[in-house]
Structures are given as C-alpha cells and as structure tokens.
C-alpha cells in the first residue's frame, strides 16, 4: 500500500498502453516477415541464389527496421532493459541488410524470426531463455565487409534509399565523403500536364554544372494536384543550386550523415516511423472502454424498458387519450433506436480475421521451410469479422490445426508426385458467414486420415477392444480424444498426441463446434463453427419453476408441446417420443430451488428441443414468454464454469435472467440434472 492506489493505477494504465502499441508493432513485424518468406521462396523457385533483392525486399526490410526502432523506443520507457537491448542488436542487423552490406537468405531470415519471437515473449512479460545466444548471433551478423558500398550512414527517406541503384548509391557515397562536396535533396512539385518537359529542362540545366545522381518520383500528389519529385544532386554549392531550382519552386535540403548511435541516445520513440496513424482512419480503443460503453447502452435499455412498462400501464388506463397514444409511439421508437445503438456498440468489438490470418501465415511459412516441405497457404475471407475476444482465443487452436496438417497431413514432394498430386501442397484457411455465425475451414490436400491407423492406435491404448464395432464417423472423431496419436515418431513440428482434444475444448469454450471430414489420399478438412459475438444473441425467453430463462435461438431446433401419451419415464429419466427418435427430457425447474414447489410428478407440458438429430435433448419448461435479442453478460468467476450457463442478462426489470447453454447440458450435465 506504500505506492498508493493512484500510483498503481497509473502504472497499470501505462503498461496497458505499452502492451497495446507493442502488440501492434509485433503484428506488423509478423506480416512483414511473412512477406519476406514469400519473396525468399519466390527467389528460390526462380533459381536465384536465394537472395531476394530489389526494391520490394528493401521496402519490407526498411519497414521492419522502423518497427523495431519504434519498439525499442517504446520499451525504453519501461523498467526492463532487455527489450531495448535486443531490439538494438536487431536494428544493427537489419541496417546491414537494408544497406546491402549483407544479403537476406534463409539463415538470416530465421534469425529475424527468432529475434521477433523473442521480442514477443519479452513484451508479454515472459522470459526468453536464449536471449544471450540470440544477441550473440545478431552481433556476429554485424561483422561484415567493410568495403561494401555504404550510404547507410546517410539520412535519407526510405523510399528514396530504396529507389537508388547500386551505381547511384556509389556516386552518392563518393559525393558524401569528406571533401566530396556533399549531396542535396531537391524536392519539386510539378504540374501534371507539363511535368516531363519541366523536369527535362531542369535536369538539363543542372547537369551543365553539377551531377544529378538520381531522380525519384515520390508518387505523391499534393493538394494542388501537382506531382512530387525528388532529385539527388551533388557537386554544386547550395546557394547556386537553390538559385537554379527556385524557378520551379524546388526546395533544397542538404544530405547529412547520421552520427553514430549510442545506445540510449536515440531519437524520440516513433520519430522514424512515418506510418501515420491518421492514414488508416482507425482508432485504437481499450477493450474496457468498449465494454463500458456496452454496459451503458444496456443500462439505457433497462431504463427505456421501465419507461415502456409505465407507458403501457398508462395506455391501459386511458386508452382514448391521444397524448398517451403519442407517448406510446415515441417510447417504442426510442426502444428501437436503443436496440440499434446496442447492436452498433457490439459491432465495434468486431474485428476482421486478417491480422490473425497473417500471423498464422508467417508461422506456417516458417515451419514449412524448417520441415523442408513445399506448402502454400491460401487464406480466404480474411475480412470476415468476429468479436475481438473470440479472435484472440482462436489463434492457438487454428495454429495447432494448421501445424497438424502440415506435419501429419502433407506428404513429401516425392510422395505427392508419385500420387499424381501437384508438387506443392496446399493448406487453406477459409472463413465465411453462415446463418449468423462464422465458419472457418482449415484444410489440406495431403494424405488424409488413415482410419485403419486410427483404429490400431485406439486398440493399442486400450480405447477400443479388438473387433469392437465402430462406424467410420465415430472412428474419425476418436482423433479428438486426448492421448491418441497415429504419428510413428515424435515430430518436431507438432509433438506427440497432437492435442486435438485441446483444440476441441477451446472451440467449445467459445460456444462453437468443430467437425472433421477426411478422404484418405486426398486430404482433410476441419470445420469450425463459432458465434460472431458472444454477447448479443437472439434468445427465447421461457419460464420454469417461477423463474425466467433465456435460451439462445441458435441452440433451438424446435418448440414442442408435449403429448402426454408420448412421454415416458423409467423412474429417474424421462424421455419423449419425437418423430425423429427418442429424446431425453430435462426439467429446467428441477435445477433450481423455486418458490413454488413444482411437483416433479406434474405432467411436462412444453419443451424446447436442442442438440442435433440423433443427439437431442428436450428442455422442459412451464411456458414460453417470447423471443428477443439479449446481451449476455458474464457471471462471476466462481459461477462461470457451472454447467449449462452461458451467462446472464437483464430483461429490463433489474432481475438477472440466466442464459442457458444447451450444448453443455447435452455434454453430460443433462445426465446429472435429469436424475436430480
């Protein structure tokens, strides 16, 4: 308590801000490394010696450099010096790469990956065990050829630097040597209609007295519609140069060499970054603020609902009063707008899958390279939106599925060719909306699941007895059980007993489902189905035992009015003869201690059919109260994991209404409760 609450709050807030910005930088680094991987792969395929050159890679490496530099500055404000230290070493290596002093190849790219991974771990508060080795590797990279052409000490815009040819670099480096006269940047904005003539004349004039090292169109158009150019000129005193270009409105800037950086004596964090936040048109907002906003719209709804009730009462009392009728209309309109506001607020938390897909792509590319497998990852539907929390939690399961496919599914190039398949394997991540939910397919065109091997593995672990009959579909689903692995050896990529059970648990935790389809020899597809948002759902309001409950419409197959003749009971369990088959019944009222004693012997009257054909459950209720959109609010930690609950909501009268999760009941809760 010595620090005081205010101090602690401030520190927390600063730390959160740091994490926010750092995560964004790490995301960008992921994307950039993914691009480099692709370029490297292309270069290798194109028969080059494995070194992507040219402006494309330069631009990416420059971007990586800027990001690492920003991260270094950001983290310098935190207490730990490990991140800035590592970032600094990484910067040096990147600097050599971008100046051409060292070439980008697989080994160097790997080093970059490792460094970025280590930064990620450090940022999130973990300890990276091999930091010292990593830094030593990075520093070794920095020893290099002192003869290499170096304009890397010169302060230049990155796009300008990237545009210079080797020859131009050399010329500039010469000009910038002590006694070489120095170099200048001339910025021009020329009318679109006449720029080529103007430029030619200007360059002609300059070349009579000086050396025009390079012309760089910056591609930008200024507000007056003029095209912007940059000239690099050397060999002329500044005043003279200014006079020559003045007529065209050129602005002269002397080029300077950067002074050697001392660790700690850095430019202000973010100074190098010209990724202007304003350009993207978006805003980073803390999730807590969104939740707060959502809570406020919820409260507004509650207040409005109370208003509506009063208005109804008033209308009941004075049905002919036109003022009262008018108030009623206005109240209804208000409710409509509030619901719309609520939906929009929830919508703010929706985020496209893109960033996640990019991260996954990087991991897949790198793993494929390490495993010497030739694989393309195709992503579709990256613009599909999901609630941010969901996306955060989907990362690990999706990665596991992809690595699983890569490791177990994808065959070697030779095997594939022998099987008549294209040499390069293909992994596909496909996301799309379906029936108000989001479906993500993870598929590979590899060897598929060998059911006989699954069977053998199951028998060897005792899960199945020899000759025990089991359908192919059920056998396939054994894959999801813990401890079952058909991999003959431990794999570096995804480990033993691959952890598909963890994947399934994770997806279920998100109120989603996962299914598997596979054709031996052709490939495997996992289909994940998750809600778009965990928070706002259409729900059926029912009552049982004197209390109300909300059941998400997505879980409901049918409303049933139970015919007594079709109900039966074997003492502990009741069931119902539905046209699709026999369905177990579960009395909702039996779950709660209720004020009205509900006789268990009373005939069950209504039920809500949930689950899938062949695996259904009828939830018995006393009656239906209607359908509406509800905001599911989380319930406290100590209650969260109780079976059958998705959360709670407030229907407008300041009483909590439990929102059920029928899937949970189906999974085994039902057995206990039905017997209760």
């Amino acid at each position: 308590m010595a620090e005081g609450r205010a101090g602690r709050r401030d520190r927390d807030r600063q730390r959160r801000q740091f994490l926010d910005e750092a995560e964004e930088i790490l995301d960008g680094l992921s994307a950039d490394l993914g691009v480099l991987e692709k370029q490297l792969a292309d270069a290798v395929a194109g028969g080059q010696a494995g070194s992507p050159g040219g402006a494309g890679s330069q631009a990416v490496i420059n971007r990586i450099f800027r990001r690492v530099h920003s991260l270094k500055g950001l983290s310098g404000l935190q207490d730990d010096a490990t991140i800035p230290g590592l970032a600094h070493d990484l910067e040096e290596t990147l600097d050599r790469l971008r100046s051409g002093a060292s070439r980008l190849d697989g080994a160097r790219l790997d080093l970059l990956h490792r460094a970025v991974d280590a930064l990620g771990v450090l940022v999130r508060g973990g300890g990276a065990a091999d930091i010292d080795t990593l830094r030593a590797s990075l520093r070794r990279e920095q020893e290099g050829d002192p003869e290499a052409p170096s304009i890397d000490g010169i302060e230049l815009d990155d796009e300008v630097r990237a545009a210079l040819s080797a020859h131009e670099e050399q010329r500039l480096a010469l000009a910038m040597r002590p006694g070489g006269g120095g170099g200048f940047l001339v910025r021009l904005a020329l009318e679109a209609g006449s720029f080529d003539r103007t430029l030619r004349r200007l360059i002609g004039r300059l070349e009579r007295e000086s050396e025009v090292i390079s012309t760089v169109p910056s591609g930008a158009v200024d507000p007056q519609g003029r095209l912007q150019f940059i000239l690099i000129v050397a060999g002329l005193p500044r005043e003279r140069l200014e006079r020559v270009v003045r007529r065209q409105g050129g602005v002269v800037q002397a080029l300077r060499r950067r002074t050697a950086e001392r660790p700690g004596a850095d430019a202000a964090p973010g100074a190098e970054s010209d990724d202007l936040a304003g350009v993207s048109g978006s805003l980073r907002v803390a999730v807590e603020r969104l939740d707060d906003l959502l809570a406020q719209t919820g409260d507004l709804s509650i207040a409005a609902a109370a208003l509506e009730r009063s208005v109804h009462a008033l209308q009941h009392e004075r049905p002919d009063d036109r003022h009262v009728r008018e108030v009623g209309r206005q109240a209804r309109a208000l409710m409509g707008r509030l619901r719309s506001l609520q939906r929009s607020t929830i919508g703010v938390r929706l985020v496209p899958l893109e960033a996640l897909f990019t991260r996954l792509a990087r991991q897949v590319a790198r793993t494929a390279r390490l495993a010497s497998k030739e694989v393309d990852l195709l992503t579709l539907g990256a613009d599909t939106e999901l609630d941010k929390t969901l996306i955060d939690q989907l990362g690990s399961p999706l990665l596991l599925l992809l690595l699983n496919g890569l490791d177990h599914g994808v065959e070697s190039a030779e095997e594939r060719l022998a099987a008549g398949k294209p040499r390069r394997a293909r992994l596909v991540l496909n996301a799309f909306r379906r029936a108000g939910r989001v479906v993500i397919e993870v598929s590979d065109d590899g060897r598929g699941i060998h059911l006989a091997a699954v069977r053998r593995a199951a028998e060897s672990t005792g899960r199945l007895v020899a000759d025990q009959p089991m359908s192919d579909a059920d056998l396939m689903n054994l894959i999801f059980e813990p401890g079952l692995s058909t991999a003959p050896r431990v794999s570096q990529v995804s480990g033993r007993g691959v952890g598909l059970d963890a994947v399934r648990r994770a997806i279920r935790f998100l109120k989603g489902s996962i299914e598997l389809r596979s054709i031996e020899g052709r490939g495997t597809t996992f289909t994940l189905d998750v809600p778009i948002s965990l928070t706002l759902v259409q729900a059926l309001i029912v009552h049982a035992g004197g209390w109300r409950f909300a059941i998400p419409m997505a879980s409901i197959r049918e409303h049933l009015t139970l015919q007594p003749s079709l109900c039966s009971s074997d003492g502990a369990r009741e069931s119902y003869q539905h046209r699709g088959g026999r369905v177990p019944l579960m009395r909702l009222s039996a779950l709660l201690p209720s004020p009205a004693v509900s006789a268990a012997s009373e005939a069950a009257r209504y039920a809500v059919l949930t689950g899938s054909p062949g695996r259904g459950l009828g939830i018995v209720v006393d009656g239906f109260l209607g359908q509406r959109e509800v905001v599911i609010k989380p319930i406290g930690r100590r209650l969260r994991d109780l079976p059958g609950l998705a959360g709670a909501t407030d229907l407008g009268d300041a009483t909590a209404v439990l929102v059920l999760d029928p899937e949970d009941f189906l999974r085994g809760g039902a057995g206990e409760h039905a017997a209760a």
Partner: protein
C-alpha cells in the same frame, strides 16, 4: 471521501481508501443477528439495496444467486451462511455490501449497515477460543468497546473457498 448515512431508498457509495496515512484503519460496521461485524473499508465499494437475487443452479450453498448492478452481474453471497450462522428469516430487511474480489464485484448480504469507525492496532485483540465461533478462520480479531464486542472480518478468508474456510477453522466440511 465521506460516507453518507445509508438510506433505505438506495445505495450509497463509499469513497476510496480506508486507511488515512499514518492513521488507524477504518472499518465498515454491519449487523447480523444483533451481533456487530466489521469489514475493512478498503475492500468495500458500495452499499446497495438488497433485492432477491436469481438463484444459479449448481452454485455453492452460500451463493444466494446473481443480481444486476450498474450493468454488471453481481454474485450475491449469504454472509450468515459463510460465517456458519443461523439463516436469515425470509422477508427480513437486508442490505448488500459490495466488495471487490480480484477484478470482480461480489455482494455480501447483511441485516443492516451501521456506521464507519476507526480501529487502531491497540484496540484490536485476538478472538479467544472460548468464544467458540464457527468459521474462526474468517476473522482477524475483535474489538471490545462499551461492553460490546466487534468482530473484525478478513475479507479474503470470507470470500475464499468454502471448504478452505471450514478446513482452516478446523471444522469438517
């Protein structure tokens, strides 16, 4: 940072911070079955009106249910039950003391909230075993004043696991 006297109509919000620097710790005093108990003011967020919460299937016996408060769902705990006391008479007046637990809020049901009072270390004394208090591990000590005794509650122990509390008090679950 003052606390308005609790009124029947609604809730009153307690300011932040119980201990003034260098001073005695301040406690919120409440009543259960004509016995006075105290919670460190530090842990208290507000005092709210009591409304019957919605029961939650499968919850601990001490959890009365959940109720909405300021847009969030509050878990409501029956303090009597946690302390091993006689159950409340249905319909008897009650109040809710809202306390912080990790990042969440929890409501403790009490009969009435009395006042805020300071307690110095000198005032405090350990609870004698002869009192035979159930769930003794829930308490930090007591204060004898004006012939009455005030039982100081340890909020963490009170909110912790039911079995842990019973075990720590040497009782069988």
């Amino acid at each position: 940072m003052s606390m308005r006297p609790p009124d029947e109509a609604g809730s009153s919000v307690v300011g932040a911070g119980g201990a003034r620097p260098g001073g005695p710790e301040r406690f919120l005093i409440f009543m259960l079955e004509s016995q006075e108990y105290a919670l460190p003011l530090d842990a208290v967020v507000e005092v709210a009106a009591y409304r019957r919460p919605t029961p939650v299937p499968g919850a601990d016996a001490a959890v009365e249910g959940i109720t909405p408060l300021r847009g969030r769902m509050l878990t409501v705990i029956d303090t009597r039950r946690r302390l091993g006391l006689v159950a409340r008479r249905g319909g008897a007046p009650a109040k809710l003391i809202v306390v912080r637990e990790a990042e969440e809020l929890v409501g403790l049901v009490v009969d009435a909230v009395i006042r805020v009072a300071p307690v110095t270390d000198d005032d405090r004394s350990p609870i004698p075993a002869s009192l035979g208090l159930p769930r003794s591990a829930a308490y930090r000590g007591m204060v004898s004043r004006d012939g009455r005794c005030l039982l100081l509650i340890d909020p963490e122990a009170l909110l912790g696991g039911e079995q842990d509390l019973q075990a720590a008090s040497g009782e069988r679950a």
